[in-house]
Every structure is written in structure tokens, then in C-alpha cells.
Symmetry: C2
């Protein structure tokens, strides 16, 4: 495909999506839910066809020398297909955010002004070779009244096409245009470059994947990006903390799962509580095979802690490694978080009301917690129903992005013939 043909093809896709976005924006809740339910049924019915396509994807990926973790993410099973279908039904059960009218109030001029929740328009989602994301992302975009263009890793293309076929069957059955959900079938990497510069046709880009993918896309995009960079999450144990609670929560924040973005990567401990807290807590970590890297003070208190270097405070390990620093005060803990953190999720363990409040107000992260595990930073745990990702941006949605994050509010003005200056 020449660069010109490619550009024209992507632009045509964008035009189709733009046109479809007007249809789906005004679609009734019932028809969107029906499309989701029909798609779920089609996925279940076509399980064996999807598994076959997935086998072909896996065979190509294997012969291309992809590693075990890659193949694992690519692999579908009867259970994962069932969970995809159930996920679509669960999205159907969520409240429709579109059309909600809030804050309507009469102004001195006589007009009434309020805000109405509306879809964003066309969302491009760029992700790795994980076919389950296809159903999940398409379902969330549909329910929130958006058209979407999905560009998954090319190694999953056969699987994604079968999933898209099920979604299209659902759309057709509900009387909605199939172009509400489009899968970009060009494996050429240049296609992504065209997609993320499709100004006027694509409204927002949601990249999902590793940090390098996300950084590349946000650097090159000419369209707003909802992005999730690192999760360098902290737990600060205040002087006043309950030691048993601090141990339980800090253990969970690090060891419940090592590879997630809301896993604690640095533990900050007030110097007054460190002698009582660190020995039992570190014994627990070392028992579970967590490598500990600490400052001098931490090393003096507990054997088996290796020296931390400056880079450790910035690190998102996503592994059984934990950085530990002893701090003289709440302020020092918040300074550390402001300097080294990634504004994802940070928690304080404390019994001091004032310190809890200061931490909640002053730590500028998308999730700030008191006496809870950072592992709770998640759309399901927060009651959003589902999430398309976690945003570490300062504008628009911060934290887990659910249906509401895929919408925005416009102003509505209701009048009875009012004129300005009249």
C-alpha cells in the first residue's frame, strides 16, 4: 500500500466513524443494550470459530519468535471468551451516562442554564495483541454513545476480526450502523501514524499498553490523548499509624499482585514508627521473596535490605522489589511523593485526623487514600462498573476511566425568547 493509499484508507475510515458517531450518540439506551447482548450471544455461539482464529494468530506469533508472556496475553480460551461475553452483558447493565441533565438553574436574564452529558464522538483505541481488549473497549465506547476505531496489535488481527464480527452482528440486530465499531485491518505501522493525526475525524485517542507505546503515541498525536503512564505508587506510614493495620495494608499493596500499575513501589515510613514497624513488615516481605532496597536508616534497622540508589525512588518495578525510605515528617513524605511519584495512587496509613486530611488535600495524585491498599485504584473497586484504563493526565478524567470518562458535558440553555441586553 502506498503512503497515499494508506492515508486515503484511514481517512475514509475516519469519515465513516464520524458519520456513525452521530447515529450512536442519539441511539436509545435500549438499542445500545440490545446490541451488547446480541454481540455477547454471538461471541458465545462462535466460540469455536474464534478459538480457531486465535490458534492461527498464536501459530504466527510463535513462529515470529514472540515470548511466553506475549503468547499468554494473546491466548483465548473458552473461559476467556465467556468472560468477554459476560463483560459485554455487564456493560449493558450499567446506567447510560448519555443525556443526563444536571444543574439546570434560572439566570437573571430569564434563561435556564444546565449541563447535558454527551459522548466524545470518535474514539481511537490503540493497544497490544490482547484480543479481550477488543470486546471490552468496543462495548464501553458503544454504551457511552461513541463510535470507535480499534487498532490492536497486528498479531491478534484474526481473533479481533471474529470479535468485531460478533459486535457488528449485535449492532445490525439493534438497527445501528456497523461502522460504529471499526477494526483497523492494516498491519502497517504507518497506519497508526495516520490515525493519530486524523484531526476533525477522531476526537480522542486512548492508547493501552506499555509506557513506550503510550509515550510514542502522545508525542506524535495531533489529537488529545487519554493516557496512562507509570504507576510509581507510595504508601506512607505515619507516626500515629496502627502497626497491625500498617503491616496488613502495606503487605497487600506490594504483594497481592506485583505487575499492576496500582501496586506500591515505594514505602515511606515515619522515623518514629520505623523501629516497631519495619522488622516485622520486612520479615514478611523477605519471606515472600520481595527484594528490599532502602536508605541508610532502613538498612540500619533491618538486615537484608540492600542500598537504594536515586533511580530506585523513580522506579516502577512491576516486580517483587520494594524501595523503602524513612522520613522525618509528613511534609518530607509529601515532598518525596511530589518529587518522585507519578501522580497515580498514593496512600497514608494514619490515626491522625489532621495528617489524613492534609495528605488527602495536598498529594496531587489521581487517587489519594487513607488507610487502604493502593491496589483498590480500579474502576470496578470504585464502582464505575468497568474501566477503559487509568488516566494519569491532569485534564479531563483522572484515575480510572469508566463510561463517564468517555463522555463530557455541554451547556444547554432553555429560553422563551430571551435576548442579550434586552
Amino acid at each position: 500500500m502506498t503512503p497515499q493509499t494508506l492515508k486515503a484508507h484511514i481517512e475514509a475510515l475516519g469519515q465513516e466513524a464520524r458519520a456513525a458517531s452521530r447515529h450512536v450518540a442519539r441511539a436509545s439506551t435500549a438499542s445500545k443494550n440490545r446490541a451488547l447482548q446480541l454481540a455477547a450471544a454471538a461471541l458465545r455461539r462462535d466460540q469455536s470459530i474464534l478459538l480457531e482464529a486465535n490458534q492461527a494468530d498464536l501459530a504466527s506469533a510463535r513462529s515470529a519468535g514472540q515470548d511466553a508472556a506475549f503468547l499468554d496475553r494473546l491466548t483465548l480460551s473458552p473461559a476467556s471468551i465467556e468472560s468477554m461475553a459476560a463483560g459485554l452483558e455487564q456493560i449493558a447493565s450499567l446506567q447510560d451516562p448519555v443525556g443526563e441533565l444536571t444543574g439546570l438553574a434560572r439566570r437573571p436574564s430569564g434563561i435556564e442554564v444546565g449541563r447535558m452529558r454527551v459522548p466524545l464522538g470518535v474514539i481511537a483505541i490503540i493497544y497490544e495483541a490482547r484480543p479481550n481488549v477488543t470486546a471490552d473497549a468496543a462495548g464501553l465506547c458503544l454504551k457511552s454513545g461513541n463510535a470507535c476505531i480499534l487498532r490492536g496489535g497486528s498479531e491478534a488481527l484474526r481473533s479481533n476480526q471474529i470479535i468485531a464480527r460478533a459486535m457488528h452482528e449485535g449492532l445490525r440486530g439493534a438497527g445501528l450502523p456497523e461502522t460504529v465499531i471499526q477494526v483497523l485491518d492494516i498491519t502497517d505501522r504507518a497506519a497508526v501514524g495516520e490515525l493519530i493525526t486524523l484531526k476533525g475525524l477522531v476526537d480522542v485517542i486512548v492508547p493501552r499498553g506499555g509506557k513506550s507505546l503510550i509515550e510514542r503515541i502522545s508525542n506524535d498525536a495531533r489529537i488529545p490523548v487519554i493516557k496512562h503512564l507509570d504507576g510509581v505508587c507510595h504508601t506512607y506510614v505515619d507516626a500515629s499509624a496502627d502497626i497491625a493495620m500498617a503491616i496488613r495494608v502495606a503487605d497487600n499493596a506490594k504483594t497481592q499482585r506485583y505487575g499492576t500499575c496500582n501496586t506500591m513501589e515505594t514505602l515511606l515510613v515515619h522515623e518514629a514508627i520505623a523501629p516497631a514497624l519495619l522488622p516485622p513488615l520486612c520479615a514478611l516481605y523477605l519471606d515472600k521473596g520481595v527484594e528490599l532496597r532502602g536508605d541508610d536508616a532502613a538498612q540500619r534497622l533491618v538486615g537484608g535490605i540492600k542500598p537504594a540508589v536515586e533511580a530506585d525512588w523513580y522506579a516502577e518495578y512491576l516486580a517483587p522489589i520494594l524501595a523503602i525510605r524513612i522520613v522525618p515528617s509528613l511534609e518530607a513524605a509529601m515532598d518525596h511523593i511530589a518529587r518522585y511519584g507519578s501522580q497515580h495512587t498514593d496512600a497514608i496509613i494514619t490515626n491522625d485526623w489532621n495528617n489524613a486530611n492534609r495528605f488527602l488535600r495536598e498529594v496531587d495524585s489521581s487517587s489519594v487514600m487513607v488507610n487502604a491498599s493502593t491496589r483498590f485504584a480500579d474502576g470496578f473497586e470504585y464502582g464505575l462498573g468497568a474501566e477503559i484504563g487509568i488516566s494519569t493526565d491532569k485534564l479531563h478524567a483522572r484515575g480510572p476511566v469508566g463510561l463517564e470518562g468517555l463522555t463530557n458535558q455541554k451547556f444547554v440553555v432553555l429560553g422563551s425568547g430571551q435576548i442579550r441586553g434586552g
Copy 2:
């Protein structure tokens, strides 16, 4: 100044702003209000010094050959200085958006999850040689808990520095760091290029000015931009409209002020009402010296309408010119708006409940109105108290951006030792 020195200077400014943003984010409402009130008093006291600086700015601008409109925007008077001071006091009287906690609800895990309104951080405002924007923008950023870097047109630098001095006096008197408000004093254009790529130090850019300035900045920025592009605003007169109301509102929408972004630029009229509506309405426009450009059907109904060409439907005239098109249906009107509009402000004049609702829901503009003049699209008219601009973006704030648009919400989680999967 070498490019390296310039870069280092801007970076230092950004570092100062980042540090100051943590102070102002946690500042009490009382201290922010005190800073605003003291700054207002300082502006009034220093009126003659400010007028003198402004005279010097005007002299340079005149000798540089700037035109009358430019000089007009640059000129300060005792009245405009008083209105600047009063504006700061008015911002002090607005409710502080920071810290508001909403939606706190208990989840099955036992944690309570809610959202807290927080400042964006560091805001860079880039604008033309209009010194009144300096006080206005600085005041809004301060009240919303943000640090700001102001870069006004270099022709206003002397005036801006005196205004900044008054703001700094207010900050000092309230115990806040002066670096909360910084005026970029480098007139070299390259400084803007450095400022809008200061990732990690500047959180958001708000350009204010002509479309070319805004397009250039959003193309070059590597930081999110809250932007206001064109206002190609429509009024659609439905078949069911009250003719007297339609005439009153459509007249106001076009002729109350010609040069504002919320002025109607295209009038769409249902074919069933056009014969009754257009002759009296067009007579009114022609009386006021408005040039009318219409499609064939409109020209057949009224003499004195010139032929419209395709470019007229896209035009933001900002002048006494109006495009008129006759349409066969509500759908055709909405199709026209979707195709040619700029998603700024669009209104329907109708007595049909169903058509009003469809227009409100389906027209994807930042303000959508029923039976009211598009001229109402304004922060003061909407009750926001003040506005830093009007956003035509799809993400974050849409429409007039007040204090709330300069903030965002983070998640807060209140626990009592909860762990995930526990």
C-alpha cells in the same frame, strides 16, 4: 540571549511555578481572597504609574506602526483600571472550587470512594497585547489554586509588569509566594516555543487571541491546550416557531455585537416558515446595514440577498454579514450544523417540544439553546462568575471556562485498613 540561555531561563521559571503551585493549591480561601483584594487596592493606588507605563507601551506600539484596533486593545484608562480592580474583587467573592468533596459512597469492600476538586497545577496563558487580561487571568488562576505563567503580547510588557507588581504585592500580603504569578519578560518569540513544550512543569496552556495564534500554539504544544477556535454559530428557525420571537432572537443573535465569537453567522430557516419570516427579518437586517448572502430559495423570497457560495457556510464573519439557508427539515438543519459548524453555540427557535429535545440532544456543540440568542454563551451569563475563555474542545471543559474549568477531580478513598482480595 542564546537558545540555551533562553531554554534554561524558561525552565527555571517552570520550576519556580511548579514549586509555587504546591503552595497555592493548599492555600486557604481566606488567604487567596486577601491576595486578590490587596492586589485590587494596589492597582487603584498605582493607577498613575500604570497609566504612565501604558503610555510608554502605546508610544512604542505607535512608532512600530500598529493599527488603531491594536492600540485600542492596548490602551488603559482610569475606568479600565478600576474595572480590572473590581474584577479581582469579584473573583474574590466567588465560591472557592478547591477541596469540594462529592459522591462519597461506600463500596462492597468497605472503602468509601468519592471525588475531590483540585487545581490543575501550573497554567501558562499566552495572549495578545491586552493588559486587562493579565489581572483577569492571574486572578482566576490564583482563586482556583493554580500557579500561572503569563505571556502577553510584548507590546504590553511595561503595563503587564506594573499589573504583576500589584498582584505580587497582594500575594506577599497574604503570605503566598510571588512565584504563584509570573510574567514572562522575554519578548523573543522563541520563549513561547520553550514554554509550550515544558513537559512536567506546565500542566495546561490557555492561548487567548486570534485563530492563527491558537492554531500555531496547539500544533506546537507538547502539553494539553484548552483552546477556543472559531465560533460559526447557527440559529435554526423551526416550522413551528413564533414569528415575533424568531425575529427578535435572530436579530439579537446577529446584530447585538458583530465581532464576538457567539454572534450568529448562519441563519437556517425551515421552508414552511421562510415566506412569513424572512421578509420582515431581512428588512430589519438590511436596515442595520447587514450584508445578506443566501441560497437560491432565500434570494427568491427576499430582494437584496446576494448569492452565498460554499465558503459562506464555513465563514466566521465577525462582521455585519449573515449567511441564510432555507432547509426542508430539522434533520437538514442539524446536518448543515454538523457539516459546517464549529461546535461552539447553536440555537433552535421552536414551539415543538419534540424538535427542541432532538436539537438539544443531537447537536454536538459546547452550547445548545432553545428559544434564546446565541449571544448568551458567556461565563457571566451562565453564572460562572467569570471566564478565562470559551473552549471548543471535546475533552475537559466545553464552553465558557470559569473557575471550575481550571480545576479537575481526583479520587479519594477513605478506609479503615481494607485490603484488596482480603
